[in-house]
Amino acid sequence: MSTTASPTGPLLSLRDVHVSFPGRRRRARTEVLKGIDLDVRPAETLGLVGESGSGKTTIGRAILGLVPVASGTITFDGERIDTATAARRRALSRDLQVIFQDPYTSLNPSLTVGDTLAEPLVAQGGDARATRARIAALLDRVHLPADAAHRLPREFSGGQRQRVAIARALALRPRLVVCDEPVSALDLTTQRTILDLLLEIQEETAVAYLFVSHDLSVVRCMSHRVAVIHRGRIVETGESAQVTEHPEHPYTRTLLLSAPVADVAEQRRRRAARAAAAGDF
């Protein structure tokens, strides 16, 4: 075992991260994140579950430098990145990538799939020939036909577009990908294939995921560890089985009982348990 770069140490760390948005017309700023502590280890998937407005998406955006951090630190591979300059940020895109929720708006409708995929490669100074070869490899990696490069996003279904977005995220061989609700806009059957693809890629490339979702069942099967966020604070973190089967925090418990399951008897039982727990949180 090497002792220099600890393989078990975190790849990404957030310590006491606060983010606030300016209030409208002289109102006070609203604090969206109120002291977030998180760690993601190499090749690990950390699931981040929360409801709308909980701040889960903001965490991802703060890591990617898309929103400014008010206080606290974000460290990636030992380097502090929340204060990174614009130039350093652009270089960080080699390691930090993103997959957004909506595959319809996350691809520029007027660029071909090939142009979209070339973007990060060219930005990092790849030459034309290497870029073309890499695009072909990427399309193959996400199981899209090679001729997809010459087509526009509108010719693809939601699931196929999400594959393009995944290929774009993988283009620079990142070490961490923020997946912001990557399957929420997809049909049930498509969702499953995209999740399988993400697992397959992680197995192969040892990429780490911060997997943000409102859907506990998706997070549970995708993540090694799960963090539950409620109103800008992490209320519970633990192994996937621990958090989703024996939740400690009452909020996690309500969240779990509220999600309906596709089994009539089991759902009846949960409904009763939820009614009994009402007022708990």
């Binding site: 078990t8 280890r41 190499p42 090749a43 409801e51 709308s52 990617l64 430098g65 898309l66 940020r89 652009r90 270089a91 895109s93 930090l96 990538q97 993103v98 957004f100 708006t105 996350s106 691809l107 520029n108 660029l111 973007e119 990060p120 930005a123 939601g158 977005a165 283009a171 620079l172 049909d187 049930l188 059957t189 498509t190 969702q191 040892a206 409102h214 506990l216 069942s217 998706v218 549970r220 099967c221 995708m222 090694h224 560890r225 192994e239 996937s240 089967e245 309500t254 969240l255 009982l257 509220s258 999600a259 309906p260 399951v261 596709a262 089994d263 009539v264 008897a265 759902q267 409904r271």
Partner: protein, 579 residues
């Protein structure tokens, strides 16, 4: 300048558009004629011979001579150089000032945006004619100087246009994705933003050019131009002074001006169509479409809602039809909750909309029978369908927020329909609205009535819509993904509410959803749709436990409820050792 920046596809569409082709041709001929003025005209624009003043058309002078004995054709052609050239100068200056400033202000926002927007508003508030007259007094009567000033005056129209579009695009996820991809701002603007701005700017160029030509001619006509230089406006001025003696002199510059500005405006219209790639609107269907009746007996049909052999088709732009629902049978009995499950494009919403009679434009029921509480509604005229919607059938939509009008209070949105449909007095309707909000378990209903939609949460908004749906005491409720936009805890509450309403009021519910958990929670029976057909129907418990159709099975397999949690993480090295 105009054609160079367009995509070939858009240019092709422009040329195929008769309006576009004609206006382009006219403009091209004008430019050509003006450029070749020395070849086409028999003498220079200033060459005068008083002996020939007001001469009619003759061999070398097809349009005759003006009051100073100058060749009219020559003056039109050379004058066109000044007029068109002036327009190009104005537009170029406006573009150079307005577009980059708009790009920067829209993309970066902040102080520059505030300052630039303020300046633009100020300039737009100035009356152009007055400023031009004033600048002539200060800067002298050179037509080119005036056109430069005009360029400054119209620059804000480009600034505002570009800034607005860029501010919209900046929020698009694909711009965020480009930033995460490591693109510099300059590159993002060049690749993602310019492409969106291009079309509207090109259209604006055509409009502004027409405006510049008109303003310039107006100035010259008032005698404020550059005196001796031939321009169309100056010719108009000169002709007007001699209108008694030779009215035909007004015709030629007037015609030149009219044709040019007309062609520019028409070109702008054609450009808009070409760049926005507008598909032709589908032909409106005829009202009296003969409906093919479904060949079914009435005795095996549910008394609340019974659908037999329903097909829905959409008109394509080329006149053919695309069928999206191919013969659906479905029943909802009084007091029963039936789930209609499927993925996007399965036709579940089209089926529900057919019952409600709210299919989007171009969509219509082509065959089959839909009986709601004893009344056949397939092919029912809109007026009678509307009456049915207010009384027997109610609807709860998917997006609660976008189904409330932000301009009105919750109270007025509940009260007005009741006064209109049920003829209640304002007081009675208000009392009933309060009762309804209590029924859907909204805390502090008096206050909620006074609030606007943006002041309440999504879950509350959905309760308000359910209250509105209940206001007419319907027998059948059609809910289209009523909880999809809500958080799970709120979803569970809304499902509880629907269950209670159904139990208390004996309401029949058709619940359209993609969520099998919601089906398990609420529905007595479920119908599974795929590709416009119902592939399986049965009691919820049976269908979920023992699906018969392969598609239902595939759907259930994709559900992650029973998927095991992922095993704890191990260091990468440790993995390869055990693998």
């Amino acid at each position: 300048m105009r054609e160079g920046v367009q995509r070939r596809g858009a240019f092709g569409r422009l040329v195929r558009n008769p309006l576009g082709a004609a206006s382009l041709l006219v403009l091209a001929l004008l430019v050509l004629a003006v450029a070749l003025a020395p070849l086409l005209a028999s003498q220079g624009p200033q060459a005068a011979s008083l002996a020939h003043a007001f001469d009619g058309p003759s061999g070398g002078h097809p349009l005759g001579m003006d009051s100073a004995g100058r060749d009219v054709l020559s003056r039109i052609l050379y004058g066109g150089r000044t007029t068109l050239g002036g327009a190009v100068v104005s537009v170029a200056i406006a573009l150079v000032l307005g577009v980059p400033a708009g790009l920067y202000a829209g993309y970066r926002a902040g102080r520059f945006d505030a300052a630039a927007s303020w300046t633009a508003d100020l300039v737009m508030a100035l009356p152009a004619m007055v400023v031009l007259l004033a600048s002539r007094a200060i800067l002298g009567s050179n037509v080119w100087v005036l056109m430069v000033v005009l360029g400054f005056l119209v620059a804000p129209s480009f600034f505002r246009l570009v800034r607005g579009i860029v501010a919209d695009v900046r929020g698009e996820p694909y711009v965020d994705a480009a930033r995460v991809s490591g693109l510099s701002d300059l590159r993002i603007v060049a690749r993602h933003v310019l492409i969106v701005v291009r079309g509207p700017v090109i259209i604006q160029v055509a409009l502004v050019a027409g405006l510049a030509i008109g303003l310039q001619a107006g100035l010259e006509f008032l005698g404020v131009g550059s005196g001796s230089t031939a321009t169309w406006g100056a010719m108009l001025n000169e002709a007007f002074q001699n209108i008694q003696r030779s009215p035909v002199l007004l015709l030629w510059p007037g015609l030149a001006l009219g044709v040019t500005t007309g062609a520019l405006v028409l070109l702008a219209t054609a450009l808009r169509d070409a760049l926005e790639d507008r598909a032709g609107t589908p032909p409106r269907r005829r009202r009296a479409d003969a409906l093919v009746p479904a060949d079914v007996s009435r005795d095996d049909r549910a008394e609340l809602l019974s659908i037999r052999g329903l097909a829905v088709a959409y008109a394509r732009p080329d006149g053919t039809e695309a069928e999206v629902v191919h013969g659906v049978d479905l029943d909802v009995r009084p007091g029963e909750i039936v789930g209609l499950v499927g993925e996007s494009g399965s036709g579940k919403t089209q089926t529900a909309f057919s019952v409600l009679g709210i299919l989007p434009d171009g969509g219509h029921v082509t065959r089959g029978s839909v009986i709601v509480a004893g009344q056949e509604v397939a092919g029912l005229p809109e007026r009678r369908h509307r009456r049915l919607r207010g009384t027997t059938v109610a609807y709860v939509p998917q997006e609660p927020m976008s189904n409330l009008d932000p301009a009105f209070t919750i109270g007025s949105q509940l009260v007005e329909p009741m006064r209109h449909v049920m003829g209640l007095s304002r007081k009675d309707a208000a009392a009933r609205a309060l009762d309804l909000l209590r029924m859907v378990e909204i805390p502090e209903p008096e206050q909620v009535l006074r609030r606007f939609p943006h002041q309440i949460s999504g879950g509350m908004a959905q309760r308000v819509l359910i209250a509105g749906a209940m206001s007419c005491d319907p027998a059948l409720l059609i809910a289209d993904e009523p909880t999809t936009a809500l958080d799970v805890r709120v979803q569970a509450d809304v499902l509880d509410l629907l269950r209670r309403l159904q139990a208390e009021r004996g309401l029949g519910v058709l619940l359209v959803t993609h969520n099998l958990g919601v089906v398990a929670d609420l529905c007595d029976r479920v119908a599974v749709m795929n590709g416009g057909r119902i592939v399986e129907t049965g009691p919820t418990d049976r269908v979920l436990r023992d699906p018969q159709d392969p598609y239902t099975r595939r759907l259930l397999d994709a559900v992650l409820d029973d998927a095991p949690p992922r095993a704890p993480w191990r260091p990468v090295e440790a993995r390869s050792e055990t693998a």
